[in-house]
């Protein structure tokens, strides 16, 4: 195989990878997202304001309201949480 052939082969692999990724993201995933169970799961998370892809608690928009409420309960009834 010449250097030129190798180069063509490598670019062909890249093109194939891009086509595969494009097919999955533009065709397959939107189709899966349209299925009843998956759509219901997504709608439920959106309704609750949950972003399941959050890596750390600060990325979770809903976290401050929830954790502040727990902290408020602890401050209001300190004995219950420590003794």
């Amino acid at each position: 195989m010449t250097l030129q052939d190798l180069r063509i082969q490598r670019w062909a692999w890249l093109a194939a990878a891009i086509i595969a990724i494009g097919t999955v993201w533009l065709v397959l995933l939107p189709f899966i997202g349209g299925q009843q169970d998956v759509a219901a799961h997504i709608a439920n998370q959106q309704r609750l304001g949950i972003d399941p892809s959050a890596m750390f608690y600060t990325e979770l928009e809903v976290a401050p309201v929830l954790t502040d409420h727990v902290e408020l309960l602890r401050e209001t009834f300190p004995d219950r949480f420590w003794k």
């Binding site: 899966i32 399941p52 890596m55 990325e59 309201v65 219950r80 949480f81 420590w82």
Partner: protein, 508 residues
């Protein structure tokens, strides 16, 4: 190409203190936090005193509503929720944030990827341009301080940033997003597609600064590790998050060393930490602290995300069929599922109380990341590296200091400083929240740039080599099984046996 997260070859050229990647990361991360916090501090809202009074009054109202022992009606619950939201709005507006329009994440989309570039029907072009300018200025400063040529870096960085944006767009597809397949995975894939087909072009090399992006991101992450939040759920929260987690981490690591005999200690540590602490963020922090190889970090993250997606769906189904109480279920989910977002998703499937407890337990566990990174760095410097190099029985303090990954100090310092500001009244809390609001977006971009860089340096064959003996997956499965059992036991003892009054209070 098995370079470690710590020892990138380019870093070896540098000798001066500011030229080391570690100190540079501390400087750049510290600069972002300092500039953001001081700008916010000098830009209070015009009605700052009035807002402060309104918040104090609102907090009193909330406390009196909560302290009422009367059974909670739907109306009281709604009142509480509205009051909490109003307070949040008032607090977030205490400081004018001039950076907010210039810092943005890519949005989500369903069928048209272009939708990712608008959030709530507003274009994020200004935000993306802002992130690019901040990043390029920051890391160009790094290049200049290291005595490297500026123009090759800027050109290569532009392409790297485009690849990072593409990774974020892939992660923003809503099926991917709502099943917790985080951007780190797609950033790795984007880089690997290029490196394993046409090969990483030479002109990209000046921008491949994995170590610098990760460590700068970790210094920013330090500001989010607020130590006072550790006590959010009282003693039961501390026991579930801070007693079980270290036991699981250490036991899993020892199991990997002595039973599975995993050849790489750093791979063992990164998998043990991401499984027992908090997934990807813990993997990044411990990976940098123990100088894990890039492929090891990629593998640990891949395993963690795959199992998290499954646990997020399966655990709520099992819990429902067992009829477990919402508080116990929330504590179990929060202590076991790796990723914070997936914990919330699983808790949300069970109900509002489970969601609240799960997110709070996970938040407390998130804070453990600082202690774990520091502990791992000390252990690695004093024991593992000494054993590897077959050195004498004792290391001098100067030698420990010389080998210690200094970025960990920046991470810990950011955590201590911002924790102190956070406990300084309502104003301090608002200042920290607004600073973190900017820092977390930039941190996400820096990690994304790091993962694209790792992908650009990773060969499929090197990665498959780690999977061949199946030890990495066995370690994760065994460790997670122990984690599930110990967390359930501790949560049951704490919330059902020792502190049933906490369960009652949370369930009202």
């Amino acid at each position: 190409m098995s370079t470690s997260v710590e020892a990138a070859p380019e870093a070896k050229k540098a000798t001066g203190i500011i030229q080391s990647e570690d100190w540079l990361a501390v400087l750049l991360g510290g600069l972002v936090l300092f500039v953001t916090a001081t700008t916010l501090f000098t830009s209070p809202a015009r009605d700052f005193p009035d807002r402060l009074k309104a918040i104090e009054q609102g907090q009193q109202d909330l406390k009196s509503l909560e302290s009422s022992e009367a059974p909670r009606t739907e109306e009281t619950a709604k009142q509480l929720k509205d009051k909490a939201k109003e307070l949040k709005k008032l607090t977030s507006g205490l400081f004018n944030n001039p950076f907010k329009p210039y810092v943005a994440d890519v949005g989500e989309w369903k069928a048209n990827p272009m939708d990712a570039f608008a959030v709530e029907n507003k274009s994020i072009a200004k935000g993306l341009a802002g992130v690019f300018v901040i990043s390029v200025v920051l890391f160009s400063l790094g290049s200049v301080l290291r005595g490297e040529a500026l123009f090759p870096f800027v050109g290569a960085f532009l392409i790297l940033f485009v690849l990072a944006t593409l990774s974020y767009v892939l992660a923003g597809q809503n099926v991917i997003k709502y099943y917790n397949l985080e951007y780190a995975l797609w950033a790795l894939m984007t880089g690997m597609v290029i490196s394993n087909t046409i090969g990483t072009p030479q002109f990209m090399l000046p921008a491949i600064r994995t170590e610098l992006y990760i460590k700068t991101g970790l210094v920013l992450l330090g500001a989010e590790v607020l130590l006072s939040r550790l006590l959010a759920l009282g003693l039961p929260g501390v026991c579930v998050s801070w007693v079980v987690t270290p036991i699981t981490l250490i036991t899993t690591y020892m199991f990997g060393q002595y039973v599975l005999q995993i050849p790489s200690k750093s791979l063992n540590m990164v998998i043990s930490a991401d499984m027992s602490v908090c997934g990807v963020s813990a993997a990044i922090a411990t990976g940098a602290a123990c100088r894990a190889k890039k492929e090891e970090l990629s593998l640990a993250i891949g395993i963690s995300l795959a199992f998290t997606a499954v646990m997020m769906v399966v655990m709520p189904m099992l819990i429902k069929s067992w009829g477990m109480s919402q508080v116990l279920a929330g504590a179990w989910l929060g202590g076991t599922i790796d990723s914070t977002g997936a914990v919330a998703a699983a808790g949300g499937m069970l109900g509002p109380v489970a969601l609240e407890v799960a997110v709070t337990i996970k938040m407390i566990q998130n804070i453990l990341i600082g202690v774990v990174a520091f502990g791992v760095a000390v252990y690695w410097v004093t024991y593992v590296e000494r054993e590897n190099k077959d050195e004498g029985p004792r290391l001098g303090l100067m030698e420990i200091w010389y080998r210690f990954p200094k970025f960990v100090l920046g991470f810990v310092a950011a955590s201590i400083v911002f924790s102190a500001i956070y406990t300084n009244g309502i104003g301090g809390r608002a200042l920290v929240d607004s600073t973190i609001g900017i820092g977390k977006v930039l941190r996400g971009w820096f990690f994304c740039l790091a993962f694209v860089s790792i992908g650009l340096e990773t060969n499929f064959r090197e990665l498959s080599h780690y999977l061949r003996d199946g030890k990495a997956i066995t370690l994760y499965v065994c460790g997670q099984t122990l984690n599930l059992a110990l967390t359930l036991l501790m949560a049951w003892v704490m919330f059902e046996v020792v502190f049933p009054q906490v369960t009652q209070t949370l369930s009202r």
